[in-house]
Symmetry: C2
Subunit: 344 residues, 2 copies
Amino acid sequence: MKIVLDAFGGDNAPRATVVGGVQALRGKSGFSLILTGKAETIYSILKENAYDDVADRIDVIDCDEVITNDESPTVAIRKKTNSSLAVGLKALKERPDVEAFVSAGSTGAVLTGATLKVGRIKGISRPALAPVLPTVTGGDVMLLDCGANADCKPVNLVHFAVMGYNYMKAVYGLDNPRVALLSNGTEDHKGCQLTQETFKILKNIPSINFVGNMEARDILSGNYDVVVCDGFSGNICLKSLEGMSVATFSLIKQGVNNSFKSKVGAMLMKNVFKDIKKKMDYNSNGGAVFLGVEGVIYKAHGASTENTIKNTVLQAVHAVESNLVETIKNSLSTVDLENLILTE
Amino acid sequence: MKIVLDAFGGDNAPRATVVGGVQALRGKSGFSLILTGKAETIYSILKENAYDDVADRIDVIDCDEVITNDESPTVAIRKKTNSSLAVGLKALKERPDVEAFVSAGSTGAVLTGATLKVGRIKGISRPALAPVLPTVTGGDVMLLDCGANADCKPVNLVHFAVMGYNYMKAVYGLDNPRVALLSNGTEDHKGCQLTQETFKILKNIPSINFVGNMEARDILSGNYDVVVCDGFSGNICLKSLEGMSVATFSLIKQGVNNSFKSKVGAMLMKNVFKDIKKKMDYNSNGGAVFLGVEGVIYKAHGASTENTIKNTVLQAVHAVESNLVETIKNSLSTVDLENLILTE
């Protein structure tokens, strides 16, 4: 199995990407990596990291352009055909031996590039960016879409639900994932026009375990495995969670600095805080999968560290092993979506 | 100044509402309260609380129906004309001496009742439910709409922006409140169709201080005074913040229970945690104003305690003193909304 890693994508690239890639190879056997980007720089970082033990599992495709966050994704993907991102996606599309692509580069460029160069799975109206968040009960919840589609139609959300259900089943090994619709109340009639129409369709799909509407306050409760929403709402949900987390720890810090007693308390609780931050920082624990395209594609956070890259590469390997793309394709045949949506 | 208080609205009513009302009267002079609900029960609670010192500032309108959360708001408002909620709103509408209404009852019924019975301010397309949240810098931020309108058009969001700006100026005394649009990125071009269209209008309104798009992660940063969104997105933002707060404290508790050292630490940090919970629990600190109707209306949380009711009544008094309704009316004349929206 070959995974292509965009070595020049991300704020800490190429060092964090190259070193993270080497760590992933050391962490698991059975796959090899193709790094895209300036070969000279990549080899120099590899040498610094005494990569001899994994050298035969690393290949490099030399290319000298880099797509940054400041560029228009559509323009950049079209013009910078020799960028580490575009070259990587091209390899995934054209080479039968390449089975996944990982990048910490510009989200817009990864999504645009993936859709344009790798292409949608036939039958999927819109691919979705889908991070998996840790919950308080120790489980995980997939939230999709989280940013690929700001404006959605019911058919898009229905596809997200089917893809999310089958992803959590195949890749996370859940028996019968609970799929909920993000809404402004739990009652069946709650929601905006989009979610109300989507609700009516989802409740008529027997091949997914649709459990109804849910409220954003319960996203981390562990009561749901897949939460479906448009990309705008998903972004707001995700960023609000981050905002409150940052605010809470900032207030704890403020409070601790106000008294000696609580300073001592905070020292004694140091490990608790560290564990929580580590657990809840889903951005560092791995990447978000881009579901609905003709290949396994993971987008890691722009600020990815070596460890994030390592985890994301291993996620991609696991997704390939789980036959992700075939699973999504097969899932479509279990649902008569066309008919369900037309008859609503 | 007379404020009408729905004595039978809320999970802890009528005890919390009646006692909270008495506490508000004791906390500030210059206004009196009209309590709506079963007079016998109200007087019995008042007597238990030795209310002689404020007896001449309390009036009761006897009515025997109560609207619950389980009822359809529209049906309940139409049929239960003798409910504490409907009678209270009627008093606000019809009696010139009544200047504000406070309820911890069903949100749907309060909003529907306010719109139907009290009426919109001429020129405001949709009233908005607008809580004010504490920020990490010690300031406050108004988020609107937070649940009155699940589906919005740009004109609604523009009205929210104008109302929010003028509320924070008049009632919170801010000099030139910073108004932002909740979006999925800070760049001007980011957003869904609704926010992109709204953005174009807002940037052309010189009488409000529009600072552009903002991300949900910065809602509590203290960088904004008013954040504008549709009611669906607002609900998701608010509930996600709550969800992360609950999750964080739940994880802290789990972590603390795992070691003796951190248990001691948590004891020493008790006050810090208490302060943060108190500070961030905006639901207990007061109510959300319903902006855009022909009267001062505050909705307190369903689970309101005596203290919440006290704070919400005092908020209402302050809003009346700040000439809230006149302020909103005047604000419309400073903006050629009709023209702006038509020319976009």
